[in-house]
């Protein structure tokens, strides 16, 4: 029952995310695009919550749907961008874009479905599975190893934020410090680019 509900919620939020992503591309007004983007990011955050990654879900909402969206809206309001009007000369460009993206989506979908044991633990590609390599131990070890089947159950007392913080501040401490310098460089660069350029 619990698993069924989480599956239904995943498909619901995945549909909302995909539809609002379409809204970002299709709407002519940039403000509508930004609002659709917020909805898409919020439902992505819901998918994270469903996967048990609470901290990343919160970060997704605060950083993407909060900070980044507000920056976009500020710029849209500051620049007074007008809506694009429909134009027939855009049609070839649109067709090319849709074809390229469609081919890419098809490729990714095919690759995901071809993962060893993609949907129900049955191997669709014999070459990838190597049935002789892991004879009878499969049932015991299948829970943990990377397979395309259902995600393994989370432990009830899994402390997401605690473990993520422990990983971040021990194993990845130096990259984390370097990352803060990247953020500082980004801020300084934004200020430098935003200055009025003197003509003399």
């Amino acid at each position: 029952m619990d698993a069924a509900i989480s599956s239904i919620l995943f498909y619901l939020f995945a549909t909302i995310a995909v539809l609002s992503a379409f809204g970002v591309v299709a709407s002519r007004n940039p403000v509508n695009s930004a609002m659709c983007m917020a909805l898409s990011f919020a439902s992505t955050a819901a998918v994270y919550f469903g996967m048990g990654a609470q901290f990343l879900g919160i970060v997704q909402i605060i950083v993407y749907a909060g900070a980044i969206l507000v920056l976009f809206l500020f710029v849209v309001m500051m620049l007074d961008v007008k809506s694009e009007e429909a134009n027939l000369s855009n049609l070839p460009r649109a067709i090319i874009g849709v074809v390229i993206a469609g081919v890419f989506a098809g490729m990714v979908t095919k690759a995901a479905l071809l993962l060893p044991g993609a949907t129900d633990g049955v191997c669709p590609v014999k070459a990838l599975c190597c049935e002789d390599c892991k004879p009878e131990a499969t049932a015991a070890t299948a829970e943990g190893e990377l397979s395309g089947g259902a995600l393994p159950q989370l432990a009830e007392d899994n402390a997401d934020v605690k473990t993520l913080g422990a990983t971040l501040f021990s194993q990845y401490n130096i990259p984390f410090v370097i990352l803060s310098f990247a953020l500082l460089a980004g801020t300084v660069g934004a200020v430098a680019l935003g200055r009025k350029i003197r003509k003399d």
């Binding site: 698993a3 995943f10 995945a14 995310a17 995909v18 992503a21 970002v24 591309v25 940039p30 983007m37 898409s40 992505t44 998918v47 994270y48 996967m51 048990g52 990654a53 901290f55 990343l56 997704q60 993407y64 900070a67 980044i68 920056l71 976009f72 710029v75 500051m78 620049l79 694009e84 460009r93 090319i96 874009g97 390229i100 993206a101 989506a105 990714v108 979908t109 995901a112 949907t119 829970e143 943990g144 990377l146 089947g149 259902a150 995600l151 159950q153 989370l154 009830e156 899994n158 473990t163 993520l164 990983t167 971040l168 194993q171 990845y172 990352l179 990247a182 460089a185 980004g186 680019l193």
Partner: protein, 105 residues
């Protein structure tokens, strides 16, 4: 439970919608939004892999740390990119990608 493949497909579909937006739209602000969607779509598959690799109910947290880094880099990138768009608007009075033709002419 939802299979791993479906998370990867969701991530791929969101990524390709972003790709289509980057290729189709002319308004640079919307192109930039679509770039952000592509970054965020990559995060979904990282988190899904983090769950799939986990043992005894505990996910592997290295992919989640990586996607946290991606979020931070995306924030820095947005700050710089929007400053560039504002600078471009000052110089060209337009945010259409077709207005940048200095090297072409």
């Amino acid at each position: 439970m939802t299979p791993l493949a479906h998370y990867l497909i969701l991530s791929g579909i969101l990524f390709s919608i972003g790709l289509a937006g980057v290729l189709i739209r002319k308004n640079i602000i919307v192109v930039f939004m679509c770039l952000e969607m592509m970054l965020s779509a990559a995060n979904i598959s990282l988190v899904a892999f983090s769950r799939a690799q986990g043992t005894e109910g505990v996910p592997v947290y290295d992919p989640q740390v990586l996607s946290l880094f991606i979020v931070a880099i995306a924030a820095a990138e947005v700050a710089i990119g929007l400053a560039l768009i504002v600078a471009m608007f000052r110089a060209r009075k337009s945010v259409e990608s077709t207005a940048i033709t200095t090297l072409k002419d």
